[in-house]
């Protein structure tokens, strides 16, 4: 067998085994999405309406609607922080 073939086999072996350590693209995609989702939620938690209970909130709780009458959340001009959200 020619030396170049040995080299090719060797490099292919290395590449294949190195590939065993590479996360598969689907996992990468899922991890990237999870990171983005977490970042968005963290950013939302830092919205002044949530972190400062300030007048940065707007709108009114949902009105009664035909079909399903959803009880309005008990909020007025502030919103409810999640239980693990740090109190300001």
């Amino acid at each position: 067998m020619r030396p170049t073939r040995f080299a090719a086999i060797g490099l292919i072996t290395v590449a294949m085994l190195a590939g065993c350590n590479s996360p598969d693209p689907a996992s990468n995609e899922i991890a990237k999405e999870s990171a983005e989702s977490n970042a968005v939620i963290e950013a939302a938690k830092n919205h002044p309406a949530l972190s400062q209970h300030s007048s940065s909130a707007t709108g009114k709780p949902l009105p009664p609607l035909p079909g399903v009458n959803i009880p309005a959340p008990e909020t007025s001009n502030t919103s409810q922080p999640e239980h693990h959200h740090p109190e300001q």
């Binding site: 030396p3 899922i30 309406a49 079909g67 919103s79």
Partner: protein, 420 residues
Amino acid sequence: MSDGFSAFKAMAVGVGLLLAVTSVAPDLTNGRFDPLSLSKGKGKGKSTLPGDSTDTGSTSGTTTTDSGGLTGTSGGTTGTTSNSFYSEETMVPSNFDIYSELISVPLPASAAPDVVGAFRFVCSAGQVLPDDPIVYPGQPGKSHLHQFYGNTSADGNSTYSSLRSNGSSTCMSPLNRSAYWMPAMLDGKGNVVRPDHVTIYYKRRPASDPKCSLTSGDPAAEGNCVPLPNGLRFVFGYDMVTGTPPTGQTYFNCAGPTAVAGHYPDLPTALANCPAGEGNRVGAVIKAPACWDGKNLDSPNHRDHVAYAAYYNGVYKCPSTHTYVIPGFTLQAWWGVAAEDNPKLWSLSSDAMRPDLPAGSTFHADWFGAWDNIIMGMWMDNCINKLLNCSAGDLGNGKMMKQFAGFSWTANPRLVPVPQ
């Protein structure tokens, strides 16, 4: 076991390297090393990407740039207007002081190295109604049960004009009076499970990106980038009429302390990876089409006027029939899975029409755009066109949308009876 496997791999890598080096060494010592010899006899071949297909049509060659500089000063009458490139409904300005709905914040960071600018925000669950103002306009009560987000006035009678003129919004503030809806989640015990929260991401390449213009000279241009036209509306995901699988990306996921995140094709699979009572949430994720035909704000099946980009001869772009690139959005709805739930009974309201399929298979969503044009211009001009990483309603210009007063991280109430 993994340690043993790692040791084996390390040893094998070592052997492989040794083989490579020793086999090349003679050539090196003789000064005849030719790296090309390693690929001698190998055909280069053409790389083929998944979903590669052929674009048989020709492109229109129409060019527009996305200024996003909408001024929002025209009157509030409805009708259709046209600019030199496409048609849209006459803009309806907000009937309140839009600047009172903004707060000041620092500028957001760049989205680079990502190639798309992003504008993201969170929503609470809104009304639950058997209505669909796109599929059954003016016919309240005719649809399967829907969970709405965004405009709190949205119902079966909604139009672009009515949405622009009425309602608050569970998606930040009434600056976004768009309506978003999807089949309601049912717990199998006579209740609708309302999602804890929903995140929505609008993304696109900046208008200055050569891939945003078919006449830029970039052979990989995706299409001509334009803002979202007033009155655009569409249905996406599973097609309840034809039963064809969704062309866009839809999947279920799980997030939380003991969740196994993934792209799951149906609800049972996702819920199996989402232990109940442990603070986990099951998610439904759907990506809206971002290619538009430039002519129609709706179509007979409410789908054909928009399309998804795909690979055509190796180039990712919009189809030649839909060359206008609008900001695409992804919607993620997250439901808490409580200890008292029986997730095996969960399904979407639309699943009742396809009992032969796993629960969740009929996942789809609807969107009826009704943004305030000035605000949309802000996030287009800044978040998208300046390639910024905008979250929580940050408009990218030092201003942020106020948050809906009814927002909370857990649905309140989480369960409501299915209306009879």
